[in-house]
């Protein structure tokens, strides 16, 4: 839990020497509480005070980095149970599992996972890593498979799945510098696993059986005592009900009880079912608190849907994704296609463009910069008025391109049509439907170019 300025003040030397750049220790403490400065700026703070300040400022769920370099990803450091309370910060890493026994398949999978990318709402969404699963062929075979994956997909974060310390040790000699996530330390092997993770400074997953959180907390505490800081939790649940219960309890223990031994991100396995079965498990893991999600194989149809859901759930509810304000072509519009205007709230845009697409009528869709607000909200806030609409149309340069000079306004701002007509000489202003769902009907039976 974060300390108040006064609590911090009590830990400072209280000499008001000003070396930190603040007139008093109290002023420094206040600024520190607001995270406006750093403790290191006071040269006189005692080690003891430092330790208690560090502990107090540590997040209830530790931020853990997996991988090294550009494609490394961070998970954890979440602060709420429900996204509407603030936001979910670090989206879960989506990782594809492959068995170590066939180097050709390992190589192929690593390549596909590494190069997969899909474009959505102007962002390029990618997979986060590959999990190599020990198939019991011995340490050398496991290390060899890891080496194959590494050279096929340089820089792609790895999860090393084995409970055999010898195999993990061999693999870490190969890939330790890449900070792979080691999965997993269990009640049987944790000493050796902790030693390996510490030696290579790698994150380590600890695994209990069937959702036994007491055993999980014991294990996490033991590997932490052994010197491992970056821990990932696997409560060992493989069914949807058990996973939901365990993950919810872990999140609550960390956030509501500030329970340190379980204040770490969680790893979820979606099992080896059909695409839709994996989709259901993974959708649960995305909405309900997973930090790393291991998929069973490379299936783009599944991956695309999951990445999209992940993007949706991890969008800050206070800052919805905005569309770039510009002219969009829906279908392949021509000089006599209709011109519609709307705002750059992403949901508004997608609803409108979705309806246009569904109608089969190609349309020029002009998106005005309305600070990412929906039509009604923007209108009420003065961000989508006659002047803005007229400017947007003029700036689009469509006047020269279109055979007709007709602009369709959203039905909710029908009242603006007179004003817009005055601002836009030579244009005829039409009023479209209020709800996007009426657009197909409007385009097919109401709109006419001449």
């Amino acid at each position: 839990m974060a300390l108040t300025g006064l609590q911090i003040y009590k830990l400072l030397p209280q000499t008001n020497c000003k070396e930190c750049g603040f007139p008093t220790c109290l002023a420094f403490a206040m600024k520190l509480a607001q995270k406006g400065t750093e403790l290191a700026n006071c040269p006189y703070v005692s080690d003891e005070a430092k330790a208690s300040l560090d502990a107090a400022s540590a997040p209830p769920i530790r931020l853990v980095a997996i991988g090294a370099g550009e494609r490394a990803f961070e998970v954890g450091n979440e602060v709420v149970l429900f996204r509407h309370e603030k936001t979910f910060y670090h989206q879960p890493g989506l990782v594809v599992r492959v068995k170590a026994d066939d180097p050709k398949i390992v190589e192929l999978t690593a390549r596909m996972v590494s190069s997969y990318a899909v474009e959505r709402v102007g962002m390029s969404l990618r997979l986060d890593g590959i999990a190599i699963e020990d198939s019991g062929g011995g340490a050398a075979a496991f290390a060899a498979a890891v080496a194959v994956a590494r050279s096929a997909a340089p820089g792609l974060p790895l999860v090393l799945m084995s409970t055999d310390p010898a195999a993990v040790g061999a693999a870490l000699d190969e890939a330790g510098a890449d900070r792979p996530l080691v999965h997993a330390a269990t009640a049987a092997n944790w000493q050796a696993m902790a030693e390996l993770a510490k030696k290579h400074s790698c994150p380590l997953a600890v695994r209990a059986e069937s959702g036994d959180l007491t055993a999980l907390a014991d294990l996490a505490a033991q590997v932490q005592d052994a010197g491992v800081d970056d821990i990932v939790l696997d409560p060992g649940t493989s069914d949807p009900a058990g996973m939901l219960a365990a993950f919810t309890q872990l999140r609550r223990l960390a956030l509501k009880k500030n329970y340190r031994p379980l204040g770490f991100p969680i790893i979820a396995f979606v099992g080896a079912g059909s695409a839709e079965e994996q989709a259901a498990m993974a959708a649960e893991a995305i909405t309900k608190y997973a930090g790393v999600i291991v998929l069973d194989g490379f299936e783009p149809a599944l991956i695309y849907a999951l990445m999209t859901l992940r993007q949706n759930v991890y969008t800050d509810p206070q800052k919805p994704i905005q569309m770039e304000p510009k002219l969009y072509e829906v279908g392949a519009p021509t000089a006599s296609s209709p011109l519609l205007i709307t705002t750059n709230f992403s949901l508004t845009y997608f609803t409108v463009s979705g309806e246009i697409e569904a109608s089969g009528v190609p349309v020029w869709l002009l998106v005005a910069d309305a600070d990412g607000m929906s039509v009604l909200t923007a209108w009420a806030a003065g961000k989508f008025d006659a002047e803005k609409i007229a400017k947007t149309v003029t700036a689009s340069g469509l006047g020269g391109k279109l055979k007709h000079h007709k602009l369709v306004l959203p039905g909710y701002v029908a009242g603006l049509s007179g004003e817009v007509e005055e601002e836009l000489a030579g244009w005829e202003i039409l009023v479209g439907p209020r709800e996007a769902v009426e657009i197909p009907n409007y385009l097919k039976s109401v709109w006419k170019a001449d």
Binding site: F82, V118, A241, T287, E299, P300, Y304, N312
Partner: protein, 321 residues
């Protein structure tokens, strides 16, 4: 180490019990469906009671939906030309109830009469024993005309009449009141609007155990996060004792998810979108699952594989009782 103390919330409220369908007193169903009654968040069996599992309704349309996604039409086969046969097929595939959309009464879709709609509803009622949710064409005046006629002609069946919105709830609520039916109250992704409409409807004298609420569904990639958070907020309010948020929630998962390009278009899309048939089903399942975890009590879906998967998920999530 000592046994961990698991944080458990003490909720004071519960989701209201709502029963669809009736087997007597004018009702001809062979079984009914009851939803609601939860005293905790979705599937948290360690915390409270979940007396009724969420259910899956299959969407059936009263005319062959030629504009539906090819993946859907292929999976549904010829039965889409006869709503009674279609409904029977979906019950056979595991649907708990049928959501019948009277699309052909839409002025642009054939403008069939209220009498035609009544005949369709009766044929579906005769074909299956499960309860029905009946959707008008989605145009206010025609909705009123069609749903009133259907309500009058099926007195006692405890149909759910859909949808009541702020602009047209009066007529439909009156029709439900007089004939022992339920209603679906739909509002545009907003907690306060949902509450307000529930209040307006209950003020007309319809008892709260005859109301479902539809917070408006967004599919994955098309606003699912808004629906998800509004549903979570409604459910949290319900559990905290706010009586006007305690209606079971229904989501039009199929309609929203199959409208999107990802589910409609097989060719000319990026390769990274993956194989079409799988993608389309996964889109529906992913949308359904996310909303299940936000508190959905009734999921309306379209594809046979989605019905099977959502049913499997619900069964697995209800284990642990």
């Amino acid at each position: 180490m000592t046994e961990l103390e698991i944080p458990v919330e003490k909720w004071s409220g519960a989701v209201r019990l709502v029963t669809l369908g009736a087997t007597g007193d004018g009702g001809t169903r062979t079984s009914t469906v009851t939803v609601g009654g939860e005293t905790t968040l979705p599937f948290l069996h360690f915390e409270g009671q979940i007396p009724n599992a969420p259910v899956v309704a299959a969407e059936v349309v009263d005319m062959h939906p030629a504009d539906w996604s090819p993946a859907l039409l292929e999976a549904l086969g010829d039965d889409t030309r006869d709503p009674a046969a279609w409904a029977r097929k979906m019950v056979g595939l595991g649907a708990d109830l049928i959501s019948l959309k009277l699309r052909s009464t839409h002025p642009d879709q054939g403008d069939r009469s209220a009498a035609d709609a009544v005949a369709t509803v009766k044929s579906v009622l005769a074909a299956v024993g499960v309860p029905l949710i009946v959707y008008g064409p989605g145009v206010v005046d025609k909705d009123n005309e069609v749903l009133v006629a259907v309500a009058d002609a099926t007195k006692g069946e405890r149909l759910a009449l859909a949808t009541c919105e702020d602009k047209n709830y009066r007529t439909i609520v009156a029709a439900a009141l007089g004939n022992g039916h339920l209603i679906v109250a739909q509002t545009p992704i907003d907690v306060n609007l949902a509450k307000q409409l529930n209040i307006l409807i209950s003020d007309m004298g319809l008892s709260l155990d005859r109301m479902l609420m539809d917070p408006t569904t967004g599919a994955v990639g098309y606003g699912v996060e808004y629906t998800y958070s509004v549903m979570e907020r409604l459910r949290l309010a319900a559990l905290m004792g706010d009586g006007m948020t305690q209606q079971p929630m229904i989501c039009s998962v199929g309609e929203e998810s199959w409208r999107q390009k990802e589910s409609r278009v097989a060719d000319g899309v990026p390769e990274s979108w993956g194989e079409y048939a799988t993608r389309a089903v996964v889109w529906e399942v992913t949308t359904a699952t996310a909303l299940l975890h936000a508190g959905a009590d009734i999921l309306v879906v379209r594809h046979p594989r989605s019905i099977a998967q959502v049913q499997r998920s619900i069964a697995a999530l209800m284990k642990g009782v």
